[in-house]
Symmetry: C2
Subunit: 397 residues, 2 copies
Amino acid sequence: MDYQNLLAERTEGMAASAIREILKVVSLPGMISLAGGIPAPQSFPMEIIEELTSVVLHKYGSRAFQYDLTEGFMPLRSALVDHLKQKGIAATSDQIIISSGSQGALDAIGKILISKGDKIAVESPTYLGALQAFNPYEPTYIGMETDDDGLIPESLDEVLKHHKIKFVYLVPTFQNPTGRTLPLERRKQIAEILKRHDALLFEDDPYGDLRYQGTSLPSIQSMAPDHVVYAGTLSKVFAPGLRVGYLIGPDLIRDWLVLSKQGVDLQTSTFTQALAAEYLAGGYLKDHLPRIIELYRPRQQAMLNAMETHFPKEFNWSRPQGGMFIWAEGPSGFDLDSAYKKAIQRNVAFVPGRYFFAQSDAGLETMRLNFTMFEEQTLVNAIAVLGQVLHEELCSN
Amino acid sequence: MDYQNLLAERTEGMAASAIREILKVVSLPGMISLAGGIPAPQSFPMEIIEELTSVVLHKYGSRAFQYDLTEGFMPLRSALVDHLKQKGIAATSDQIIISSGSQGALDAIGKILISKGDKIAVESPTYLGALQAFNPYEPTYIGMETDDDGLIPESLDEVLKHHKIKFVYLVPTFQNPTGRTLPLERRKQIAEILKRHDALLFEDDPYGDLRYQGTSLPSIQSMAPDHVVYAGTLSKVFAPGLRVGYLIGPDLIRDWLVLSKQGVDLQTSTFTQALAAEYLAGGYLKDHLPRIIELYRPRQQAMLNAMETHFPKEFNWSRPQGGMFIWAEGPSGFDLDSAYKKAIQRNVAFVPGRYFFAQSDAGLETMRLNFTMFEEQTLVNAIAVLGQVLHEELCSN
């Protein structure tokens, strides 16, 4: 039968992206992939998980395997109150919704707010998974300008002046793909601009805890709570395979998010929520997080040092104080797609940066490099190969 | 700020339904609630779960906590191949997608197929959770007639003749809310009608394994595989808090379902999928399922016997061979909403049947009763109270 004919109009917006093809290539044997964005499996606290499964089974028994509230498992929401307080975010357990990873939060906000053609303001470049969550709801993206410190506040102001924006989407700390972090002063300015224009921000904060240098910064949510839906996740600090994220936001928005979630997946797994509850309430994160940071910090440093040695002087790149990514930019007109093809022939993969732009013609000269998945020497070898490829490409132009 | 103004058009379709209010009332202390639709916690195999968590930790290690394929954890999909074969469904592991419960499958099919105003054919009455999943995509529902044997095939034929239907939604076995099961002959007729009209069916089968009498029936999928997306779940036989469901369907539809799922939640929890994989592959279901059946069969029988004794002779009800529900109908014009209010004053709750009809004016004389959550004597007491309330309501009319 003619299945194509049955598809909804929105489904065209989900068309298989080239990045899926890239991620297939990079899983080939022998490939050193700097293309991923996933935590090192060595960062998972296996001995803690073993202990916690036993704690959960004996503390909650069958309750951990029963249906539970769409809003989320109350012991986890209570534990998050303290966790968020340490981040300077004041929330009661009733104000917290558990999502199925950050992705579940992105889908939910898109679903309740975006009608076809509605305008969403995003950084250029922005997180690809957010675009994938929003695309089926058929928004129009309005790109905002960024520099080495992330979003330029004046660009947000201009966009809000000239467009009716449903919401602004930002990853203010160790952004994916750039690794950039908004400084304190810009956060304050952005909070002010949101208030002035009576606008809503979706503040996505998956990487905030992965800080290798410097001191942590307050969320924009803490500066304008009525104007921000804040989303966090345990995927980057506990384990992504549990699929536990969370969000807080103004009451009315939160109520609609719950109704939306009820139709989408009823609730996030009670068992994995109970594990997350015990992980946070038991204080395990405090011991575990420094171990993750000690794993990632030298990897990032090794990659940055190798780039210094091997990358052409025509390239610039970010030097983030945390997160999982480094963003590099070649000279204007440089074609990273072509370099990508040569690199994978030499068994090194990355993601060409253009996939992270909502506009199809932007970012051809950019690339995203992940440093969490390999040991230092492997990263150095991979960067040496990439440096060679980039030099060759520069010469052949 | 004016949050209401930000909402998408679709969000109005998610408006808080009265059934949420009902489910709040029924969790009050002292209430005997026949309103729920959830498994008895005593049915969860806690000792098996404890064993399996240990098996998973040692067999898969960090892999069970890492990101994994959107399509689903391969060991689970492989285990499902055998499980489905026993149900007469031929599928390769590549043809199976893991969903976050059945609800995730319902959302996904709605998302990829329904444009605003598209017609979906549903039984009258039908599963409320399906309506909640589909509503945000703004379909028009076309109701099909049912009798004690479920959907009347001629009604499907008529509907497909006169309407352009995106897909047909059915729960052919132990339907929620009625408990009705389509006999073999009707299944064959429905498969033929689907083929003749080149139409697509979403066959939702959460309860098929919970059979207390009689012999199991083949799925409609097995009779018309090119015309059916089949969804199952482990929520009713293993544990709902794991949120593991699955679906199989024609290749193209499946590819779009995967793309949709990528935007919605990336993937279902790797850990709970790994538990489900070991549960199925280790043959635990074979030992566990008879224990669930032995728990529920006498409960259902006790409720049916008590209804025989206590319900007014003007009432008719289903006598299902399995599942979790009994459906009762009073005489035409009887108002179950009014009876509901009196019943909860006497600490017995149920769901008035009208919530299960896509049309807002249908089913006022109907009710759904769940029998899985209480021991026999409690069910008998509850039915005695309900019988009294119904008698009183009949007399006062």
